[in-house]
Each structure stands twice: as C-alpha cells, then as structure tokens.
Point group: C2
C-alpha cells in the first residue's frame, strides 16, 4: 500500500503545491524570455557515462530494456540538452534561452531533502559567452525565489568562479591532472575537518586555506555583482570562493543557493560549462553555455519554513482545489432543470459541482463548504427562480432562471 | 544524437503544444469539480501483475533495482489509484472526483499513434454507484474535446454496457469462466473476419452476430443517453454494443472515443470498474468506481487534422513562446539605464528580452520580431525619453522614463 522508498504520492493538496511551484517557475522564466522544452525521462545510459564517467552509473536507475539497450531514468537534464542542442543546432538562432520542468531520478540513500525522485527546473543559456549572460542567469534565479515571497533574509546566492582557483593552480604550476582532486577538496572544505582538507591540498594547503579563511574575489566576480547591483539585486548574493561545485565540467562562474539559516541542503546551483556541449556531441557542435537547476524538495522545505512564503502557497493550494458554485437540489423534481443550467455554467468556465444522488439539503450545503464553493444555487420551491446564496456572507437573492448567467458575471469571487 | 525509439524530444513548439493540451485537460476537469493528484512513475511490478496478470509484464519497462526490488515504469494509472485510494480511504469523503495528468510507458511495437511513452489524462469517480456519475463522466469527456474546438462532426463517443452482454451470457447459461474469451471476441469483431469471430463465439455465434449486425441497447444505456440529452450533449454519443473494451475488469457502462472519419486509433476510453479497487487492495477497501483515460498522441493527431482545432492550438503555441517587450539598446552608453528599467518591467510581470551584447539596431529589431515581441523600447539619443514602438502597427511614441510603466499599463497586447 506504499509507494517505492524515495517516491512520492501526490494527494490533491500535494499536487496543488507542486503545480504552484511549477507555475511560478514557468512564469518567471518566461518573463526572462526563456522558452520551455523537455526531453525523455528514459535515455541511453551511455549519455550519462559520457558526461560523468562510470561512477555515475552506480547512482542511476539503469537497466537493459527488452531490445537489449542499456537505458537509464534521467538523473539530470544537461546531457539531454547537449544531445538536443547539437542535433538541432542549425534550426535555432543563438543564444538559446531554454527552460524545462521535469522529473529526475537517482538511486541514493534517502536523507532529509533528498528522495529518489524530484522535480527540477533547469534554465540554460546556450551560445553566449558574454558575462551579461551570467548576470541575467543569476538575476533569474533571484527573481524566481522572490516570486515565492522569499527575501534576502531567507536565502543567499553564493557566487564563485572556478577560474579564481584554476588561475592559482596554473600560477603554482600544478599538473592539470591533479586539478579535479584539489577542486573537490576545496568544494568539500566546509564539511571536512581542516586537517583532512590540508592533507588533500598538499603543497597548496597554505595559500588555499588562507584564501578560504580570508575570502577572495576577482575582477570578473566584482563585475558580476555590479551587474546585479544595477538591477537592485546585489543584496541577494555573496561572493564566496568556497563554492566550487562538485561536477568537473564547470569552467567559470559557479553559484549555489542556500537558506540564510543554513539548515537545509542547497536549493539550487549552476554555473558556466563552456566545453560540455562539445564533449557531449563528440565535438560536432561547440557552444559556450551556462545554466542552473532548482529542485522542488528543498525549495518546498524553505517555503514551508518561511511564514510569508508558506501563506502565499497555502492560498494558492486552496484556490486550486476549490469550486465556484455548488448546485443544491432542494426538490428532486427540479433535478433536470438544475442539470440543464449546470451545463450552461460549466460551458461558461465556472467550476460547478452538484449532488449525484438525492441528498438532504443540509448535507448538500456541507458538500458546498467542503469543496470551497463561493456560491450555492438552490433549485426548489422558488423555481423558476433560483436562490443564489453567497457562502462567505450568507446573503441570499432570488434570481429568475433566465437572468442567472448575467447575474453571475458580476461576481468577483468566481474563477471565470 | 537521437532519443530512444518511441520516445520524444519536445522542442519549444512541441512543448507548447503539450502544455496547451495539459491546460485544457486541467481546466475542464476543474469545471467538473475534479481535483488533481498524481502517483510515482515507478511502481512495484507486482501492482500491475495483480490487476492484469502475468501477460502485462511482457509489455512493461520493468527491471530489478539496486535494492533487488522488481519495479516497472507505470503503463497506466488505475493500479496506483487503487493503491492510493485504499491507503487513504478514511481521509476523504466519497465520492472522490480525481484527475491526473502524467506520463506512461509500454514496451510495444511502434505504430502510428502509438509510441513507447505518452501523456495521459485520467479522470475517475470513486465511491458512487449512481448512473448519474456515468452521465457526468461521459459529459466531461465530451466537454474536454469540445474545449479543443472539436465538434460532433469530428468525434463520436461510442457507448456500450458490459452487462448487455453478460446478461445474455447468463441467459444462455454460459459458464462464467468462458465469459472473458467471448467478450474479447465481441470486442475484436470489427477488426476480425466474420468466420473467425463466429468460431470463437461457438454456440452463441447466431444470437451474438445478429445483435452485432442489428445493434442493440438497454434501459440503462437509454437512460445514459437521456441524461446527456438533458445537457444538450446527445449528438456526441452513439449507443454501440460492439464496444466491450479489452480489459477484463470493466463491470458496466464502457465507452470509446473515435474520430468520425475513422482514420485514427481510439482517442479515449473508459467505463465502470466496480470490483477493481477491492481486488487491488486485497478486499481491504471496496468502492464502486468509473473513469476514463485520454492520451496526448492520438488527440494531437485529431487536432492537427481538424482546421478549427489546429488553428486554436497554433494560436496558443505562438502566444506561449512570445515575449511582450524587446529592449533595443541603440547606444551602448544607455545600457545601464535600459537594464534598470528591464528589471522593473520584469518585476511587473512583463516578458522582456534584450541584447546580451552590443548589436546593430537592425539586428535587435530582427530579434524582437523573432521572439514575437509586441513592443520595442528604444534606448538611445532620445534618453531620458524612450521611443516605444508598436511592432504590429509600426506606430512610435516618445515616453519619459518615469512615465513608462504607467504608459504600458494601458497596452492590451501585453501579457501582464
């Protein structure tokens, strides 16, 4: 009677919360001139191996299908993006500004904020190397979170730059084959004992730990913050070179979004990956790119932990699952008349429900209340008039049947 | 560079078409007082075996996960519905009117109108045995298709009743173990040579073939059509006892929706399944139920083959992927001023794009047109005034920067 471990059932209120998050994601992405696309949830396993190496396979829901193909439920969207962009390169002018909302899967140990499936917004800009694109992408991330009623008191975007560190590695003449391990050690330094990080950093422990302690910045990062300041969004970001992002393919600016209270996992993360599309397409297409992903689970936790944001979401959930009008059939011999008007009302776009079987009037009013109806229409002795009752104020008016549609058009509480 | 066989990439115009279909499904289901829910796309394989027997497994994307569980990508929603309704039986008053929009998977030979994945709307009424529920469900199916601009000239709902046939089998004292095979033969009779059907029907060939030739009806079916007539929807349905539905679990009214031209596969299908929830829940919960499913693939084909419906969809696709305003930066030294207003405009909910790098003005106007902008705002020599150009009429006005937001509020072509 349970879903699989790490998978969710969405009862109506859960589903309305999910739809609320999707609607906000979609709305703000469209404001930024992004267009929506999607890929399959099942892809050849090779697509993920190509990007992330063999280790990723251990975290996949992967299998051999009935046609002997190695396939996997998608763990992330970027490899599909690379495939699709390379396949349709000539059809679209660059830069592309594409977003997608879909479900992703990882076979991982379940923890708070991490299930085996989640929904994710992906926003990517393809074919643009101007730092203005970096500003626009981070601004989009800020504005999406603001749209949920979250403020600079609730979240912070920690912005960094991989080149801040790779420039240092180059200056110290570190063999580029050792870079990944050092960058990983920097990425993990906040969650590791200092000695362990120092050990991994080896000869670089001194200068790197100093930078991690004191903080640092670069001209590029300063310009990025300045770009956000021009938009009035500077208070949402901190330059923080401790952020590196675990994935090897990032090439420039990177960022991660956290709750200010520091209690939750990352809400979103992304950055520049200028070489990845060439790598994924076997050099068929080379395009600079940047993007971020935001999941529904941690975001939902932050919304629920923030009273203003939670209030907004709860209002949206109530509105999603309410009807406008409940038809009360007080006399069964008025059922056919009521049904004829039911059809007219639904045709006009109102959300209307009614008793499928004969019920006591009190029970029908209870159903009207349970379903969140704004109005009740009583079909009974008053026919050919209908008693229209406002369920918020209790006010009741008699309306002739032929005047009903015109009367309802003036009602502000109805959805249509 | 290709998706797996039978799986689709959704480029922006495909994705907008998909979202259009989802939005209409959702809108009309809500008008009928249905609320949205969803289940996991991955479920224990056993859930499908329990409902459909072992044969179903041959058509599944099923595998053993890393925790040694037998799991499958969902081929349909009803088993999950049974699981969820039984698990939460006491939390919800009956009848439930639930709908869901999600993706489903079958490992099948690809044919026209049948891929290995598709999206499906499911609408179910749980806990109501009144025939009024049957009328409401069929009416919902009609109204969903009408909402796409399809008329009684484009589609027909063929309504039948399993009991029409099981009453006959009972009258002929046919062993109930033989029923399934006979019902399957009736279901397939339109697609099989007459002799083959006769052979399968055995002693019943005479009376059954006569009924299939002449047609038949029942009091129950007549009442159902009468209920639809009260709503003005009778012309969308035909009583047609040749419809039985292949699945063994239907117990009463069944229906299938076809294009009038008879060129496509079924657009939707459903019926009553009063025993299934008990069966799926091992008799923990017993509730009468009925529902239908409608897929996105065949529906999309019918919409595309019907000029009025296609026109409506194309309009929606264009609107989904258009922006409101393109900011033309005619002088680069106005970029910071333009960006400050960009942020204000997006905050107001307008969809706004702009050149990420310095571009010739003509190229910027081309981008504005490509993205479907209604207005272009020119930031150049006129500053602190902005030239606001209506891209449909070519009309241009100079507006002071502080008056811009007020000026735009009067523009009917903008999305916010």
């Amino acid at each position: 009677m349970q879903p699989l471990p790490g998978f969710r059932d969405f009862l109506p209120s859960d589903c309305a919360a999910r739809n609320y998050i999707f609607a906000k994601w979609r709305e703000v992405a469209c404001r930024y001139g992004f267009v929506e696309w999607d890929g399959p949830v099942l892809e050849p396993t090779e697509l993920y191996r190509k990007k992330s190496g063999n280790e990723i396979v251990g975290q996949l829901f992967n299998f051999i299908d009935k046609g002997e193909r190695e396939v996997a439920l998608r763990p992330e969207l970027t490899p599909t993006l690379g495939r699709v962009v390379a396949a349709h390169d000539r059809e679209f002018k660059k830069p592309l500004k594409w977003f997608s909302i879909g479900q992703f899967f990882r076979y991982e140990k379940q923890q708070r904020g991490r299930l085996r499936e989640h929904f994710q917004l992906n926003c990517d800009i393809i074919g643009e190397d101007s730092p203005n694109a970096d500003v626009d992408l981070v601004a989009l991330c800020v504005d999406i979170l603001r749209e949920f009623g979250l403020t600079e008191k609730d979240f912070v975007i920690r912005i960094s730059d991989r080149e801040f560190w790779t420039d240092l590695l180059r200056a110290h003449k570190i063999d580029s084959r050792a870079w990944d391990e050092i960058l990983q050690a920097i990425d993990k330094s906040e969650r590791q004992p200092r000695e362990k990080t120092a050990e991994k950093l080896g000869q670089l422990a001194g200068p790197v730990l100093k930078l991690l302690d004191q903080g640092g910045t670069s001209e590029k990062l300063d310009r990025l913050v300045e770009g956000l300041r021009e938009r009035g969004l500077a208070e949402f970001v901190n330059v923080d070179v401790r952020i590196v992002r675990g994935l090897a393919y990032y090439t420039g600016m990177v960022f991660e979004v956290f709750d200010r209270a520091g209690k939750l996992r990352a809400i979103a993360g992304g950055g520049r990956y200028d070489n990845l599309i060439a790598q994924l397409s076997d050099d068929a297409v080379s395009l600079p790119a940047l993007g971020f992903a935001m999941g529904d689970v941690v975001l939902g936790e932050l919304i629920n932990a923030t009273p203003v944001a939670r209030g907004k979401m709860e209002k949206a959930i109530a509105a999603a699952n309410k009807i406008d009008i409940y038809i009360v059939i007080a006399k069964e011999d008025r059922r056919a008349d009521a049904i004829a008007q039911l059809q007219q009302l639904r045709d006009r776009g109102y959300r209307v429900d009614y008793p499928l079987t004969a019920e006591k009037v009190a029970r029908q009013f209870q159903a009207a209340e349970d379903e969140g109806a704004s109005l009740a229409l009583l079909y009974g002795d008053e026919w050919p008039q209908i008693a229209v009752k406002d369920l918020a104020t209790g006010e009741q008016k008699l309306i002739a049947r032929e005047d009903l549609l015109a009367h309802l058009q003036g009602q502000p509480s109805l959805s249509s």
